[in-house]
């Protein structure tokens, strides 16, 4: 019988409801670290609504009382291997738990109208590079230059969006993991580690950032925002196993 692993904490934490597959969730202690698990009959975990929500409920139940380090969905193991994992990584696990203590993860995703933004960048690049070049070699070089200018324009604009968000959130964010992808519709994906006591301030600043970015928006960027949280600190579990 495998064990399904949900999360671990340096405080004793119990989850009230059933776990994945309706199994009872239990905890065991290993060198000052508490691990929440349930029994799982099978070799792989189906990515189903029920299983996802069960995983989320168990970890969320713990998060309501303390901040655990969550395992990735689908972690099947045995008690022996879990104990080995905790013992081997005890120092870095406790450091990570200390880092996220009293905090939760919040998520901000910003989407833009990638097609429109690219067209605007093409126009800018065309205007900057001039026209009327004769000869295939020169035309080729001009096209290359335009493509580079277009790519740079996208990169700069995406970077500005991420910077303005970070500036507005300021010290309400203890740590951030930000991915900027100028070529994609999901242009900024940010995970913020926020102290529970600062959540109201953080939320107010997210609203302010949204308003500012909307105000400064130009050239058909069509910015859209998806903010979510609170989450367990999934993005801040940097423990090398």
């Amino acid at each position: 019988m495998n064990l399904y692993a949900y999360c671990l904490s340096d405080e004793m934490a119990r989850a009230a409801g059933a776990g994945v597959g309706g199994a009872e969730v239990r905890e065991f202690e290993c060198g000052g670290v508490w691990v929440l698990v349930s029994e799982f009959a099978g070799e792989r975990v189906g990515v189903t609504r029920e299983n996802l929500l069960a995983h989320n409920r168990v970890v969320g139940d713990v998060l309501a009382r303390t901040t655990p380090l969550p395992f990735r969905f689908g972690t099947l193991t045995s008690e022996t291997r879990l104990r080995n994992y905790v013992e081997t990584n005890r120092v870095s696990l406790l450091q990570s738990l200390g880092r996220v203590r009293g905090c939760v993860e919040m998520s901000v995703k910003i989407l833009w109208n990638a097609g429109e933004v690219r067209r605007a960048a093409e126009e800018t690049a065309r205007a900057a590079s001039g026209a009327g070049v004769e000869g295939s070699g020169a035309a080729y070089l001009l096209a290359k230059r335009r493509a580079l200018a277009e790519s740079e324009d996208l990169r700069v604009r995406a970077g500005e969006i991420a910077s303005r968000l970070a500036e507005t959130l300021g010290e309400t964010v203890r740590e951030a993991r930000v991915r900027v992808r100028p070529e994609e519709a999901l242009v900024v994906r940010a995970a913020h580690l926020v102290e529970r006591a600062r959540l109201d301030d953080y939320r107010a600043r997210v609203h302010a950032a949204r308003a500012k970015l909307r105000e400064a928006e130009g050239r058909g960027e069509g910015l859209r925002f998806l903010t979510s949280g609170v989450w367990p600190p999934y993005s801040f579990t940097d423990v090398s196993a």
Binding site: L52, L53, T75, L76, Y234, A241
Partner: protein, 88 residues
């Protein structure tokens, strides 16, 4: 997509997608201990923008695994197959 603060609701598809986006991509990993099967591919591809990270991860992982299986080297004892076709 809502412009307001996200409120988690188990019946809401967006909530499920946000959950997927977090739990599939991130979190503690014990080497070789993740074994999932993707039963509802259509669910994962709903709201592609939100889920690019997770889909990338799945495709990358499946791609790597396929390469490993095609190579003559033996499978590592702790690794397991991520099966995108089972439980359909």
């Amino acid at each position: 997509m809502t412009e307001e603060d996200f409120k988690f609701d188990e019946e809401d598809e967006l909530s499920l997608l946000e959950t997927l986006d977090h739990v599939l991509d991130l979190g503690l990993v014990i080497a070789g201990e993740i074994t999932i099967s993707v039963a509802h591919i259509d669910l994962i591809y709903v709201g592609l923008n939100v889920l690019l990270g997770s889909v990338d991860t799945i495709e990358e992982t499946i791609g790597k695994r396929m390469k490993e299986l095609e190579s003559p080297k033996a499978e590592s004892p702790t690794s397991k197959v991520i099966d995108s076709k089972s439980q359909v």
